[in-house]
């Protein structure tokens, strides 16, 4: 190894951010108005006036030059607090942070922007607030405007811009600096797809030029595309530090573990306030999912569950059909559970796969799934009950009852490997054949 490559190697492995056993507590004043004044007036009794909240607890971390490190975790996990401490925006309570290089924090776009100023003026001030010299901003002005793709509007007041234009311009300013260490917090989440891709390319370019990036996002896909290494934070601690794939899996697993805990605790009743459409012969009294016999609003894809519809009927009806339409909030896909057209889904009484008889009074229909197949995400349900005879001509008015958005629930994957792929629906395959072709 010659001297220059040895120097280059050392340059690359140089630690630029070193966080050692850092803890940060915030004071939560019992009385937000007078708490601080009381604390200042009576320092001996200060602990009477607030509770400590530990936002970051004993965190250690090393980041080397040129690394892009993703930081993921649920809201309130301590990500932003940690980054603010690295940026020098918050004092530490315990531990030590050593930073070698100029830090640029992109914690929020649009800081210091004046709505009456033109795009050009705002570029100048935003650039300077991010630590650039005036001359530097002026030199890069045309490059910034070019990157933001708003050439024709640059002299207009900033308030006239669309939110996408604002975000693009501000991000362009932020990306025009040649930072040594840059902290990006969710700032990439705005803009259209092509701009997001362009921004990611710019971040990669920054890193290859030796800059170090700490990247916080809830968008696991973005993190996975940008960062090789990621850190997972949970309740103020780092629970994982390593390859992003594994980190993302850990994060999703953590979310699921928490959801599992909450699965039985959080049940939301159906919304029966809205007046149903239809003739009104039947009323739905309750609708809910059960998993292992317990009521829940969360179902696990690929596992068993039951959907119960409790109703009351004003008179006996010889043939009633039930249809439950569910709409995915994530993808807009609508599914329908129609027992008669999907034989075998209806279990118990009445007999599977056909319209059923309703007597006057209360009753219950249970739709059982041995292996639920649907996309993940949040759903809302519509329920309709109508005449099950073959000559019935369907319309909402002629239904016995038709409820819109009566129940909300979520479908989740137990296995976390499907993270970051939008709505994913697993379609069962009946057979797989392999052949060798000559």
């Amino acid at each position: 190894m010659n001297i220059s490559s040895a120097r280059a190697a050392r340059h690359e492995t140089e630690v630029v951010v070193r966080v050692e056993h850092v803890t940060k507590r915030f004071k939560l004043y019992k009385n937000i108005r007078t708490g601080l004044v009381k604390e200042l007036l009576f320092p001996r009794r200060r602990s009477d006036f607030y509770k400590d909240f530990t936002a970051v607890s004993d965190v250690s971390l090393e980041v080397r030059r040129g690394e892009i490190v993703g930081i993921i975790g649920a809201n309130g996990a301590g990500k932003t607090t940690l980054l603010k401490m690295i940026a020098g925006l918050l004092p530490l309570d315990e531990g030590r942070i050593e930073v070698n290089g100029r830090v640029t924090a992109l914690l929020a776009l649009g800081v210091g922007v004046h709505p009456e100023f033109s795009g050009r003026e705002n570029v100048l001030y935003t650039g300077m607030l991010l630590g650039m010299r005036k001359q530097e901003v002026l030199t890069k002005m045309s490059e910034i405007i070019e990157f933001a793709e708003i050439r024709d509007f640059i002299e207009q007041p900033f308030r006239t811009y669309s939110s996408g234009m604002k975000a693009r311009l501000l991000f362009s300013v932020a990306m025009s600096i040649a930072p040594e260490i840059v902290i990006v917090d969710e700032a990439l989440a705005t803009g259209d797809m092509s701009f997001v891709q362009k921004s990611q390319a710019r971040i990669r370019q920054l890193c290859s030029s030796g800059a170090t990036v700490l990247f916080v996002s809830h968008n696991l896909r973005q993190v996975a595309e940008l960062c090789e290494r990621s850190i997972v934070m949970q309740r103020g601690r780092i629970v994982y530090d390593g390859p992003t794939d594994e980190a993302a899996a850990r994060y999703v697993e953590g979310v699921h573990a928490q959801r599992d805990l909450q699965l039985w605790q959080e049940t939301e009743p159906p919304d029966l306030r809205r007046r149903p459409l239809g003739t009104g012969e039947i009323h739905v009294d309750d609708i809910y999912f059960t998993v292992d016999g317990r009521r829940t609003n969360t179902v696990v894809i690929g596992e068993s569950c039951e959907l119960h519809v409790e109703y009351s009927s004003s008179r006996a009806l010889p043939s009633v059909q039930l249809c439950v339409e569910i709409r995915s909030a994530k993808s807009g896909v609508t599914y329908a559970f129609v027992p008669s057209t999907i034989p075998g889904l209806l279990s118990g009484r009445p007999e599977s796969g056909s319209p059923f008889r309703v007597t006057a009074g209360k009753g219950r229909v249970t739709i059982a799934f041995s292996r639920l197949v649907m996309g993940d995400g949040d759903y809302s349900c519509d329920v309709e009950m109508f005449d099950g005879s073959p000559d019935f001509n369907f319309s909402y008015d002629r239904c016995y009852c038709y409820y819109q958005r009566i129940l909300r629930f979520q479908a989740i994957y137990r296995e976390p490997r499907y993270f970051s792929r939008g709505t994913m629906t697993e379609i069962p395959v009946d057979d797989v054949r392999t052949e060798v072709l000559v």
Binding site: V103, A105, E116
Partner: protein
Amino acid sequence: MRPLTIRSTLTSIIRHRELVWEMAVRDLKGMTKGATLGYMWILLRPLIQTAAYVVIVSYVFGSRSAREGTTIAYVMYVLSGMISWQMVSRAIEEAPTLIRNRMDLVKQVIYPVETLPLTSLIVGSVGAAGSLIVFLSISMLNGTMQLSWALLPLPAGLLICFTLGLSWCFMIAGTLVKDLREINGIMIGLLVYVSPVVVSEGMVGRELWTVVQWNPLSHVVICFRDVLQGEWHPVSWAIYVTMTALALAAGSAVVTRMKVAVNEYI
């Protein structure tokens, strides 16, 4: 320790001078953007205030001394006092909200908060500079020019240091205790009547003049007026210099120690 904190704080200001200047320009532009008279307001305000004080003191209170001398002499007296008073009073009134009003900036960007008072001072000095120009022009027309004008940088330099120190303290304290803004506003509103801005020794008599002397801000006004009108009050100068040194030392110590910590409270 003390000289060190003063030096590091001042060094930081010098290092960020470009930012300080541009932010002041931005604030000035922002203040007047959309107003028909634009920058004229910055100049008009102190002049109207001067006129108001002259009218109140000489006609409403019917001060004999104010009317005995020529009206123009009294106008010049008030105007010379207003120049330094408006700078100090504006700084004291604004300081408690300096950080709070720029919350998003201070919380999200690594902003050198120690430069905020200077930015505010530059904005405030535009009005004072206007008053000064009016004062100097009228004096020249009257033929009452003074050689001591050459010494103007001296009280001006002290004024910058004094208000900076004071603003640093109030800026940090105001972030912690929101009421400070109101307290300062009321204090300044009252103090102007026990200051030599509107009253002179000859107008109020010995006893009241002693009260005026107890107002620390009086000495700032007296020293400024010394240079503008060719007078000499050595005691006031000694007090002014001492206050400036103390304010600078206390202010830089407070801002160095607390500038990151205050982020927790905003």
